[in-house]
């Protein structure tokens, strides 16, 4: 089965003031349908750059981003549109990722309009269904983002990300800014959305425990390179790299009762 999304020896070198240094170097991994994947890295690991490359917001300086096995050409409008329909995103900051001046219904409906998925009544239906899938009331569509809490805003962001029925949901630190109760709920939501909507989640996180709770595969990043990757159980249970072991040891654990 062709992976939906793949990175083939991707590198991104800085230009300008830091010319010569790499944010990301020789990164290769694939996203298989149905295999939620976690990309784990601390600050300086290159994960933000990887997110931009995976979203087609930047071109790699070497290597390729493959979509359905075909290299992604950012100049090809119809390929990009098809790509965007298939790969949607949830961002980290629920307070910055929703336009404060638009009503929720309009925010969630933006991919539907811009990607020409549907119009008019059909579009409104998709929005209503998306809001329902994330556990928000239908009347949320007529309210403004500031009327909602951080956790609810993240749900709105998830609704926006699934409304065009994508195949991959790229979640960039989706729960880092949330309190633990909401965090647990949003993780559960993401876990349930996967199988019910034929959706594969690619989660970028600095938190190993969250990745462990949601993803079947884990990729560990450090200094712009992949340090280790494999099934989550093998990476967490039998890490082969020192850095991975350090990361594991550093995760704060609840006392056993």
């Amino acid at each position: 089965m062709t992976p939906i999304l793949a990175l083939d020896n991707v590198s991104y070198a800085y230009r300008g003031t830091h010319a010569g240094q790499h944010a990301v170097q020789d990164v290769s991994f694939t996203i298989e349908p149905g295999q939620n994947t976690g990309l784990v890295g601390e600050s300086g690991s290159g994960k933000s750059t990887l997110v931009k490359l995976l979203l087609g917001l930047m071109r790699p300086t070497s290597g390729q981003v493959l979509f359905d096995g075909v290299p992604l050409n950012l100049g090809d409008q119809s390929q990009v549109r098809s790509f965007r329909r298939s790969v949607q995103t949830v961002f980290q900051d629920p307070y910055s990722s929703l336009d404060p001046r638009q009503r929720v219904g309009r925010i969630v409906g933006e991919p539907v309009r811009s990607l020409r998925v549907a119009r008019g009544r059909a579009a409104d239906e998709l929005v209503a269904k998306a809001l329902e899938s994330v556990g928000l009331a239908a009347d949320a569509a007529s309210r403004y983002p500031h009327e909602f809490s951080g956790g609810q805003r993240q749900r709105i962001a998830i609704a926006r990300a699934i409304v065009s029925r994508p195949r991959v949901l790229l979640a960039d630190e989706p729960v880092s800014a949330l309190d633990v109760i909401t965090r647990s709920q949003v993780i559960a939501l993401l876990a349930e959305l996967g199988p019910s909507r034929d959706l594969t989640v690619l989660m970028v996180s600095h938190d190993l425990s969250v990745v462990g709770a949601l993803c079947q595969r884990t990729v560990v990043l450090q200094g712009g390179r992949i340090v280790e990757q494999g099934t989550t159980s093998s990476v967490l249970g039998a890490p082969s790299e020192t850095y991975t072991r350090q990361l594991l040891a550093a995760v704060p654990r609840l006392p056993q009762i």
Binding site: L57, R81, T89, P100, Q102, S114, F148
Partner: protein, 296 residues
């Protein structure tokens, strides 16, 4: 849904430790809004009225010269026997027309230029910023005088001249605010939603910069009115019979000791309009913003 998820009300409720909006400040702001509305409203009313009714025809010089206020002439007459109250009313119309016109010109030029500058990077960005900064370094009045000196003075040229001078200020502000919006995550989210740059400008950038820009346009209206009055005072404004308040001030200058009302009346009218606009803009600042929820 868990009852544990609360509705955050004002922006302060999200941050542990951040002070919430001050109740007393909000009351003060309502007062400012009301006073501003009254002051500006008075001038607008007079200007509107002048279109359908004037106590005397503007060119009517039948009154005795430099009369004090009385029943026939509520504010007295000027040195040519014209009714001062009529002149104030016509002056209100001119002030508003030139003020609004200049701001309109400034916005029509400044906003698109500012938006382009916001998207510029590298040397283009630096060049455009430098150009705007150089233009802003000149006082608005000076720039307007330069234009009028070249084109000759009429209501239209004065309006355009002031407008052009304001456009640099509007452009620079637009650039700064638009750049800030461009850095927000919802712009990235719009891009990944497939929205093109034109759509992003229309749907996300313009609505989000408008509150700040509109406040500043309001303040620039006051600047434009004063610029017009200054130009007229210096004799560079629209020629008579357009009785701009500035020209009234200039004409009353020589007789200010014997007939002070000739200078005081237009002066007070100017003050009312400019202060009124500043108060109005200040008071409106928070009202139209959907993100400023009131704490319950």
């Amino acid at each position: 849904m868990s009852t544990m998820i609360q509705r955050e009300t004002s922006a302060g409720a999200d941050q542990d430790g951040a002070p919430p909006p001050d109740g007393r400040a909000r009351d003060r702001r309502s007062l400012i809004l009301i006073v501003g509305l009254l002051l500006v409203g008075a001038i607008v009313l007079i200007a509107a009225l002048s279109l359908v009714w004037l106590p005397y025809a503007p060119s009517d010089t039948t009154g005795s010269r430099l009369d004090g206020p009385g029943l026939a002439h509520w504010l007295g007459t000027d040195r040519l026997g014209r009714d001062l109250f009529t002149e104030i009313m016509v002056g209100a119309r001119i002030a508003l027309v030139v003020g609004l016109g200049a701001v309109g010109v400034g916005a029509a030029i400044g906003i698109p230029v500012g938006l382009s500058a916001a998207f510029a990077v590298g040397w283009l960005d630096d060049t455009m910023s430098a150009a705007m900064d150089i233009l802003i370094a000149f006082p608005v009045l000076l720039l307007a005088m330069l234009f009028v000196a070249v084109t000759g003075a009429s209501l239209v040229t004065v309006t355009v001249a002031i407008g052009l001078s304001l456009s640099a200020i509007v452009a620079r502000l637009t650039r700064i605010v638009a750049k800030r919006v461009l850095a927000e995550q919802y712009i990235t989210a719009a891009r990944t939603s497939g929205t093109g740059w034109l759509g992003i400008v229309r749907q996300h950038i313009l609505p989000n910069i408008w509150p700040t820009i509109s406040v500043n346009l309001g303040l620039l209206f006051g600047v434009a009115v004063l610029a017009e009055a200054s130009l007229s005072y210096l004799g560079l404004g629209a020629p008579p019979p357009n009785s701009s308040w500035g020209r009234l001030l200039q004409e009353a200058q020589s007789t200010v000791v014997t007939a002070p009302l000739g200078a005081v009346a237009p002066g007070i009218a100017l003050v009312i309009l400019v202060i009124g606009v500043n108060l109005l803009v200040d008071g409106l600042r928070d009202v139209a913003d959907p993100t400023q929820a009131r704490a319950r």
